[in-house]
């Protein structure tokens, strides 16, 4: 039985640009060769990591939604772990595939930010814009409280 999954692939951004693409493509192919089908691929591009992974401060994020056999996951996992260009990977099952076409608008809830403690306002709730999309989506220390 086919199930819906989403795989997060965090690829070393130090590779040449097509190196990243090739890597992602490799996993897409792996899915399809295991009776799965890739539904959509969400590319975030290079993004700052919340913590260093293998000395890297940033990496390339891709999310692949696909339908596949549960047994495929082991394959994916094994392949990712052996693959040096993949810094991190994560496959989760999702209830349903996202319907809307490729470019996914990131859900961004608006509400008055609970700007608490003025003292430690560095980077925490400086929820100005960033979040994803761009390459250098770092949160800076200029906490824009108030």
């Amino acid at each position: 039985m086919l199930r819906n999954y989403e795989m997060a692939l965090i690829v070393d951004s130090q590779l040449q640009e097509d190196g990243v693409e090739k890597t992602v493509q490799r996993y897409r192919d792996l899915i399809t060769t295991h009776e799965g089908s890739v539904h959509r691929t969400d590319t975030w591009g290079v993004r700052k990591l919340a913590y260093e992974i293998r000395k890297q401060q940033q990496a390339h994020y891709t999310f692949v939604q696909f339908q596949g056999q549960p047994a495929t996951l082991e394959e994916l996992d094994r392949a990712c772990r052996m693959d040096d260009s993949v810094l991190r990977h994560l496959v989760i099952s999702i209830k349903e595939l996202t319907v809307e076409p490729e470019p996914e608008p990131e859900p961004e809830p608006e509400e008055a930010p609970a700007d608490v403690e003025a003292d430690a306002a560095d980077e925490e709730d400086a929820d100005a814009e960033d979040a994803n999309s761009g390459d250098d989506s770092d949160e800076d220390s200029e906490g824009s409280e108030e």
């Binding site: 997060a8 965090i10 919340a50 913590y51 859900p107 809830p109 930010p113 980077e123 960033d130 979040a131």
Partner: protein
């Protein structure tokens, strides 16, 4: 920290608001500046949604969207 006003669970309040482990901006509101998950007695999140918040944060940590700890010392 988030003292003073008792809030209702924001997810119960706004049914449209969906929780996603990829949504850094939203999840950031539920962790302290050191990366700790804010307990629901402070955030006001209801039990059901707090469980989901927690799960989402933990996923986000795995893929380095959120820090496991600290980040403050730097």
């Amino acid at each position: 920290m988030n003292r003073g006003r008792v809030k209702v669970c924001r997810f119960c309040e706004d049914k449209e608001l969906t929780l996603n482990y990829k949504d850094e901006r939203l999840l950031r509101r539920f962790v302290t500046e050191r990366g700790k998950i804010i307990p629901r007695r402070m955030s006001g999140t209801c039990a059901r949604h707090q469980r989901r918040v927690t799960a989402a944060i933990k996923l986000a940590r795995q893929i380095a969207i959120l820090p496991f700890a600290s980040d403050a010392v730097r």
